[in-house]
C-alpha cells in the first residue's frame, strides 16, 4: 500500500506500524480507514488520557462515571440523571449552522442511548470579537443552528453563556451540554451481548457526509481559507425531525424491553458503534456493510463504515424480538435494517453480505484500547515568572472614564437565548440569564412532581486560565459551585469540556496539564466527582492557539422547591451587601484584558472558606432571607450590581467601593445580596454564625446607579446599553468572507 495514504488519513508512521503489529499484516484500505478515525485525537483522547486519569471520578451518587456515552447520577426518588458535554468547534467554524445543529443532535443521542429522555440543553459559546463581521457570521449561524435543531427536536435550551473575544477569531468554541432523566432501574449501557443477537441499524440513511469528521476536521487546526473551505464536506448535515422520531422510537423500544444494548452513531460512525458495542460486551461482530441503507449509489465500504451521517442508532436485539422492534420502528416512520450479528471471539468482521466475502477484519477491542497513548512534552512559557510580576494593578490603577468602563462590560444575551425554546416540558423555574438554571424534578414515568429541583450551570473563563490555567480552572469550578448555591442547590457531579490549542505545542500541553491539576484539586477539595468529559484540541488558527478554555458543567439538587429561588431582581428599599472576603487584584479580569493587560497572578482559592460561603448562601436562599442574589465573577462587583439594577428596574447607591480594584476585581468567593430591611438582622446572624466576612455596601432605590466618588449615571443609560448592544451590532450585518 502506498505509504502516504495513512498520513493523508491523519495517522503517523509509528501508528501505521502499530496497526501492522496488531494485524500481523498490512491493513487494507477499509481497515486503515477505520483505524484512522478511531485513533484520531477526537475519538481516542490519545494526548489527554494520561492526564485525565488524575481527576476524581467517584462519589456516592455516581451510577456511571466517565467512559460511557454519558455520566449518570442518582438524584433520589428512584430517578437518575444522565449528563454529558461535547464540543463541535471545528465543524461550526466551517459551516456554522450545520456544525452547531449536529452538535445538538449528537449529544442528544448520547443521552437517550443511556435510556434517558433528554430534558435540557445548555450551550457555552465562544466567538471572535463582535465587531468582526466574519465572527458575527459564525455566531449568527451557530445560534440559528442550535435554535433550528434544538427547538424542533423538542429539547429545551435552558442556559449557557456566550463570550466574544479576540482569542476565538479563527476558532470559535461551540460546546453543548445535555441532561436526560430516567427511572433509576432502566439504565442501559452501550454494549452487545448474546452470541447470535442481531445488530439493527435505526434511523437515517448513510451518505458521504461527515467522512473523516473526527480526523481531518476535529483533530487538526485551521490554516488558510481555501483549505478550510475544502473541509466543508466533512461537516455532517442534521435533520431534527428524523432525530425527534428516533428519540421516541428508541425510548419506546427501551420501555418495552426489546433491546439488549443500544449505541448512537456519532464521531467515526459505524466503525465506532460496531466496535464499541462489541468490545464493551466482550464479543465480536459480523457486520454486513452492504445491508446499510445508503443515501447515494456507489459508496465504498470504507465510506459506509466511517460516514458520520446523523440520526442513526445501532440496537442489539434478540432475534425473538425483531418483529416487535420493526413494528415500533414503523410506527415512528424510522427505517430499520438488520446489519450484523453478535459473534464469539472478539473479531469485528466487515462483510459483503453476512454469508459473503470478508472485506476487513480487526480485533474490535484494538480500535479502542490499543489506541496510542501519548505523554506529549510539556513546558511552561519561558517568560512565566516575568508575566507573573507584570500585574495590572502594578502599573495601572487609573481609568479615564469609569462609567464607560462599566458600560463596555454590560451586555444582555437575550438576543441569543430568546431564539431557544427554554420552557418545554414545564420544568424551567429559572432559565437563561439566571445564576443557574433550575428545573422541577418530575418522575420520568409517572410525571409526579417530587417537590425537589435540579440546578445546572456551565462556566468557563479563558482570561483567568490564560493568566494561570491551574488556578483559573479551580476558580471556574468555585464559580459554578457558588452559582448553584445562589439557587439553593448542593452540587452532585461535574462534567467538563477541555478546549485547548495544538497538543504538539509543549506550552499548550502544559496548559492542559495545569488545568487538569486545578480541576482535580478543586473537585477533590469540594468533594465533587467528575462523571464525564470531552477534550477538544487543535483549537488553533494560522498557528495561533486559543487561550486555554476549560468549560465545566455542574449539576446539583435543590431539596425543597416550593417557591422559586430568588433571582437577581431586588426591591426598592432593599439593603445591599457583599458576602465574602474583600476584592483583591485585577489580574485576569475583564477590565484588565480590555486594556490588553493579560499578565499577572491570580489569588489562590481558600477552599475551606469557599465551601463555607456556599453553605451560608444556601442557608440564606433556602430560608427565604434574601430578595435577590448574584455571584461576583466576570466584570467584578460593579457589573454584578449593575446587572441586578437593570433587571430590577430600580437603581442603587453604593458606598465602600473605593476604587477600580473594588469595582472590577474578579477575586473568588464573593456574592452580592439584596435584603429587605426587616430581614437584615436574621441575615447578619446567619453570616456571623458561619464566620464569613461581609460588608454593607448600599441601598436599592431611585433611578440612578451611583458609586460614591466614582459613578453617577441614569439607570436608563445602562439599560439601553444592556439591552441594545447585541441586537444593534448584529443588525449591522455579517460576512462569510
Amino acid at each position: 500500500m502506498n505509504e502516504s495514504v495513512h498520513r493523508s488519513l491523519g495517522l503517523t508512521d509509528d501508528e501505521f506500524q502499530k496497526i501492522i503489529e496488531i494485524l500481523g499484516r498490512e491493513p487494507n484500505h477499509l481497515e486503515l480507514a477505520m483505524y484512522s478515525v478511531m485513533w484520531s485525537e477526537h475519538c481516542s483522547y490519545k494526548s489527554s488520557r494520561i492526564h485525565l486519569k488524575r481527576l476524581p471520578t467517584e462519589g456516592k451518587h455516581v451510577l456511571v462515571g466517565p467512559g460511557e456515552n454519558a455520566g449518570v447520577i442518582d438524584v433520589g426518588d428512584d430517578i437518575a440523571i444522565a449528563i454529558r458535554i461535547e464540543s463541535h468547534n471545528h465543524p461550526s467554524y466551517i459551516e456554522p449552522y450545520q456544525g452547531a445543529a449536529t452538535g445538538v443532535g449528537g449529544i442528544i443521542r448520547d443521552i437517550f442511548t443511556m435510556g434517558a429522555r433528554p430534558i435540557a440543553i445548555m450551550d457555552p459559546l465562544r466567538f471572535g470579537p463582535i465587531d468582526d463581521a466574519r465572527s458575527r457570521w459564525v455566531a449568527e449561524g451557530v445560534v440559528s443552528g442550535i435554535s433550528g435543531y434544538g427547538n424542533s427536536v423538542g429539547v429545551p435550551n435552558i442556559g449557557g453563556e456566550t463570550v466574544f473575544d479576540e482569542t476565538y477569531i479563527g476558532n470559535p468554541l461551540v460546546n453543548v451540554l445535555c441532561l436526560g432523566i430516567l427511572p433509576k432501574d432502566r439504565l442501559v449501557l452501550g454494549q452487545a451481548s448474546g452470541v447470535g443477537n442481531l445488530a439493527v441499524l435505526l434511523g437515517a440513511t448513510t451518505g458521504r457526509d461527515g467522512i473523516g469528521g473526527v480526523s481531518v476536521l476535529a483533530s487538526a487546526g485551521f490554516g488558510d481559507d481555501e483549505e478550510d473551505a475544502e473541509k466543508r464536506p466533512s461537516v455532517q448535515v442534521g435533520d431534527p425531525f428524523e432525530e425527534k422520531r428516533l428519540i421516541e422510537c428508541c425510548l419506546e423500544l427501551l420501555d418495552a424491553g426489546l433491546v439488549v444494548g443500544i449505541q448512537d452513531l456519532g464521531g467515526a460512525g459505524l466503525s465506532c458503534a460496531a466496535s464499541e458495542t462489541a468490545s464493551r460486551g466482550g464479543v465480536g461482530m459480523d457486520f454486513d456493510a452492504t445491508a446499510v441503507p445508503q443515501r447515494e449509489t456507489g459508496m465504498e465500504p470504507f465510506e459506509i463504515m466511517t460516514s458520520e451521517s446523523q440520526e442513526r442508532m445501532l440496537a442489539i436485539v434478540n432475534p425473538e424480538n425483531l418483529e416487535n422492534v420493526l413494528l415500533i420502528s414503523e410506527k415512528w416512520e424510522i427505517r430499520s435494517s438488520v446489519v450484523g450479528k453478535v459473534t464469539e471471539g472478539g473479531q469485528l468482521r466487515i462483510m459483503d453480505g453476512l454469508d459473503g466475502p470478508v472485506l476487513g477484519e480487526v480485533p474490535a477491542i484494538s480500535l479502542h484500547e490499543d489506541a496510542p497513548l501519548y505523554n506529549r512534552p510539556m513546558e511552561p512559557p519561558e517568560d512565566l515568572s516575568a508575566r507573573k510580576e507584570d500585574t495590572p494593578e502594578g502599573n495601572l490603577l487609573e481609568s479615564n472614564d469609569v462609567t464607560e468602563d462599566l458600560l463596555s462590560l454590560m451586555q444582555s444575551q437575550e438576543w441569543i437565548t430568546s431564539q431557544y425554546d427554554s420552557q418545554l416540558f414545564l420544568n424551567t423555574v429559572a432559565g437563561p440569564g439566571s445564576n443557574a438554571a433550575v428545573l422541577r424534578l418530575k418522575h420520568p414515568i409517572t410525571g409526579n412532581d417530587t417537590g425537589r429541583g435540579l440546578a445546572v450551570t456551565t462556566d468557563g473563563n479563558h482570561r483567568w486560565c490564560a493568566v494561570d490555567p491551574k488556578i483559573g480552572t479551580a476558580m471556574t469550578i468555585a464559580e459554578s459551585m457558588l452559582n448553584l448555591a445562589c439557587v439553593g442547590a448542593e452540587p452532585r457531579a461535574l462534567v467538563n469540556c477541555l478546549n485547548f490549542g495544538n497538543p504538539e505545542n509543549p506550552n499548550v500541553m502544559w496548559q492542559l496539564s495545569e488545568a487538569v491539576d486545578g480541576m482535580a484539586e478543586a473537585c477533590s477539595q469540594f468533594n465533587i466527582p467528575v462523571v464525564g468529559g470531552n477534550v477538544s484540541l487543535y483549537n488553533e488558527s494560522q498557528g495561533n492557539n486559543i487561550d486555554p478554555t476549560p468549560i465545566v458543567g455542574l449539576i446539583g439538587v435543590i431539596d425543597n422547591l416550593d417557591t422559586p429561588p430568588p433571582g437577581v431582581s431586588w426591591n426598592k428599599g432593599d439593603r445591599l451587601m457583599v458576602i465574602g472576603p474583600p476584592a483583591k487584584g485585577l489580574s485576569g479580569s475583564a477590565w484588565a484584558f480590555a486594556r490588553s493587560k493579560r499578565n499577572g497572578q491570580l489569588e489562590q482559592i481558600d477552599y475551606e472558606l469557599h465551601a463555607r460561603l456556599c453553605q451560608t448562601v444556601r442557608m440564606l436562599v433556602n430560608q427565604g432571607l434574601v430578595t435577590a442574589i448574584h455571584d461576583i465573577s466576570s466584570g467584578g462587583l460593579a457589573v454584578a450590581v449593575a446587572e441586578m439594577a437593570v433587571q430590577s428596574g430600580v437603581g442603587c447607591s453604593l458606598a465602600r467601593v473605593p476604587d477600580i480594584e473594588a469595582m472590577f476585581s474578579e477575586s473568588p468567593s464573593r456574592v452580592v445580596i439584596a435584603v429587605d430591611p426587616e430581614q437584615m438582622q436574621s441575615v447578619e446572624e446567619v453570616i456571623q454564625n458561619q464566620g464569613i466576612p461581609s460588608a454593607r455596601i448600599g441601598l436599592a432605590h431611585g433611578d440612578t446607579f451611583t458609586i460614591k466618588g466614582l459613578i453617577d449615571i441614569g439607570l436608563s443609560k445602562i439599560l439601553e446599553q444592556w439591552e441594545d448592544s447585541l441586537p444593534q451590532v448584529f443588525e449591522s450585518g455579517t460576512t462569510q468572507g
Binding site: 435554535s147 425531525f241 431564539q419 427554554s422 420552557q423 422541577r440
Partner: protein, 222 residues
C-alpha cells in the same frame, strides 16, 4: 362529570405532554390521540398541541392536515364541539381550513421564546369564557412562524364578528392587528400562538394560562 380532553400527537409534536399535564392539573381527564387513527374515542374536546408536526417540512401544518385524525377533527368541529390549536396547532387549523388566515415568519426572521402580555378582546369563545374583557395576561410565546396574516376582508370579518380573542400588548412578531388568537364563526374552534399550558403553575412564573384552559375545559363539559 369531568370532561375528557384528547390531545392529538403527530410525529414531531412536542408539547403534547405539557398540554396533558396542564389540563389534568385543572381537573380534566385527558388522553393522547395518535394522528394515524381517525378514531377520536369519547373525547369532549380536542387540543392540537405545539411542536413541529412532520418537522414543519414544506410549511408548518401543511402535511399534518392530511392525517386521518384531522378528518375526524373537522367532523368533530362541525358538530360544534370545542377544538383548540396552540402554536403549531393553530398553524395546522389554518392549513386545515378550520380557521381563516395564515401564520408566516416573524418580523425580524428570528425564533422567539419569551413571555408576552396579551389583552382579552372578547369573552365570547370556548377559550375566553372564564376571563374578563380587557384582562391583561402574561403568557409565553415560542415560535418562528407566528406572524398572523389574512386578507383585509377576513380581518374586517374577524373584527365585525368579534372573533379576535387575544391581542399582543407589544406586538412581538408583526401579526396583523396585533392578533394572537382567533376563533371560527361558530366560536368553538380557537387558535392562538402563545402557550397557555406554559403558564399554569406558580413555579413557572405565571398562572395566567389557567383561566384560558379553564374556559376550554368548561366548554368541553357542556
Amino acid at each position: 362529570m369531568n370532561p375528557t380532553i384528547g390531545v392529538i400527537v403527530f410525529p414531531g409534536s412536542n408539547c403534547e405532554q405539557d398540554a396533558l399535564e396542564a389540563v389534568t392539573s385543572l381537573g380534566a381527564n385527558s388522553r393522547l390521540l395518535w394522528h394515524d387513527s381517525s378514531d377520536l374515542g369519547d373525547v369532549d374536546g380536542v387540543i392540537i398541541p405545539g411542536g413541529f408536526a412532520h418537522g414543519d417540512y414544506l410549511r408548518p401544518g401543511a402535511i399534518a392536515r392530511f392525517s386521518p385524525a384531522m378528518e375526524s377533527v373537522i367532523t368533530f368541529a362541525q358538530s360544534g364541539r370545542p377544538v383548540l390549536g396552540i402554536c403549531n396547532g393553530f398553524q395546522i387549523l389554518t392549513e386545515a381550513g378550520l380557521l381563516p388566515g395564515a401564520l408566516q415568519k416573524n418580523r425580524g426572521l428570528k425564533f422567539l421564546c419569551k413571555p408576552v402580555k396579551l389583552n382579552v378582546r372578547t369573552t365570547n369563545s370556548v377559550l375566553t369564557s372564564q376571563t374578563t374583557k380587557d384582562d391583561s395576561l402574561t403568557i409565553p410565546i415560542n415560535h418562528f412562524e407566528g406572524n398572523y396574516t389574512c386578507s383585509d376582508e377576513t380581518l374586517k370579518e374577524l373584527h365585525d364578528e368579534d372573533r379576535i380573542l387575544l391581542t399582543y400588548e407589544n406586538n412581538p412578531n408583526g401579526s396583523i392587528g396585533d392578533i394572537a388568537g382567533i376563533c371560527n364563526d361558530q366560536r368553538n374552534v380557537v387558535g392562538l400562538m402563545p402557550h397557555p399550558e406554559r403558564a399554569c403553575h406558580p413555579l413557572l412564573g405565571s398562572i395566567d394560562g389557567q383561566p384560558l384552559l379553564h374556559s376550554f375545559i368548561e366548554s368541553s363539559s357542556s
